[in-house]
């Protein structure tokens, strides 16, 4: 997947308000690892329905980071997990790792 995360949306939203930008980034930095860990735990224990909910929640952050293909991947993976299909897991994990690197360096 040739797509890299970006902070264009965050910058547009902040509209020059650096205090808001810092606040939002701090929340994302706190929430993302929790959501990521929750997803991995549920997936590992084959709680696929709950894992689908975790993917749903992560979708908002994927969209925030301007990853349109990643967003579609999350939609597809969420739907797959609801019927216990796991074929998109490796691709989704790559996406999460990419996001993690980007978020932690914001």
């Amino acid at each position: 997947m040739h797509e890299v995360p970006n902070n264009t949306y965050i910058k547009q939203l902040a509209n020059g308000n650096t205090a808001f930008e810092e606040k939002l980034i701090a929340i994302v930095k706190r929430e993302f690892p929790e959501e990521q860990a929750e997803f991995i735990k549920n997936y590992k224990y084959k709680n696929y329905i709950t894992a689908a909910e975790n993917v749903h929640k992560l979708k908002n952050k994927i969209g925030m980071l301007g990853m349109e293909k990643g967003y579609q991947l999350a939609i597809d993976f969420e739907n797959d997990l609801k019927v216990k299909k796991t074929i998109l897991y490796p691709e989704f994990i790559v996406l999460l790792n990419q996001m993690e690197d980007f978020i932690m360096n914001l």
């Binding site: 949306y9 547009q12 939002l24 929340i27 994302v28 749903h56 969209g63």
Partner: protein, 240 residues
């Protein structure tokens, strides 16, 4: 137009808060991480608009809507496009916005909601015209001051004055400053008792002491009466 946000995800709440901040004439009153807290709040407060996430644990956005007897207008905020059809089965839902929400899309949605809110005819509390003073005194209004809801009897209100984004409610015993508009409070007041006599003043007609030219005396306050409102005021008086 005032609003609240209900979303279990803090990132989403903060984003919508920021968007609210960038839209004129939209007052964000409170943000809630779950629907239960919001229901408690709505039982005691009048809200024009709710930004509501559908996909929340335990209690979904649709579950929440079904608990409301008279739901305010609702804009659904979601990462899921699959609920769009279901959403429009509810009259109270005015729009459906997919995250991440841009300012342009958000503004458009709020404008749409505003047209619905403006159409709503406010229903002031019904008062029998033959009611006694005692009956009137039982009819009251709750105002939100520093997160406390304070009860004010209609019959105790003498004057309501517009002061920028606030109104000052002058009662027999105390004055209250509330973040609201004359238009909003007028919708809550019984027409039989209250009259807007000037763009900045609503008065309780029972409290008038005397009228002179284009002003009325209420307690120790002289209140201006605009020319256009004078005929209605004169109609209300029991002239000899």
């Amino acid at each position: 137009m005032n609003c609240i946000i209900i979303d279990d995800e803090e990132t989403a709440r903060v984003i919508i808060e920021q968007l609210c901040d960038q839209v004129e004439n939209l007052d964000l009153i409170e943000s809630f991480p779950n629907a239960i807290q919001a229901i408690k709040f709505l039982n005691k407060n009048d809200i024009d608009l709710i930004f509501l996430d559908i996909h929340m644990p335990d209690f979904t956005g649709f579950d929440f809507i079904q608990t409301l007897k008279n739901p305010p207008k609702i804009i659904l905020t979601t990462s899921d496009k699959n609920f769009a059809l279901e959403a429009f089965e509810y009259d109270c839902i005015v729009d459906y916005v997919v995250k991440p929400i841009t300012l342009t899309r958000f503004t458009k949605s709020v404008e749409k909601a505003k047209t619905f809110v403006d159409k709503v005819v406010a229903k002031p509390q019904q008062i029998d015209t033959t009611a006694t003073e005692n009956t009137i005194s039982e009819t009251d209004l709750y105002v939100n001051i520093d997160r406390r809801l304070i009860k004010i009897n209609f019959s105790s209100i003498a004057i309501i004055e517009a002061k920028g984004d606030y109104i000052q409610i002058k009662t027999d015993t105390k004055n209250y400053t509330v973040h609201s508009t004359l238009k909003k409070i007028q919708e809550k007041l019984p027409d039989q008792l209250f009259l807007k006599v000037h763009r900045s003043y609503i008065i309780n007609t029972k409290k008038i002491i005397d009228i002179e030219d284009n002003s009325v005396l209420i307690a120790k306050d002289v209140i201006p009466v605009s020319r256009s409102n004078r005929p209605e005021l004169m109609k209300r008086l029991n002239l000899l």
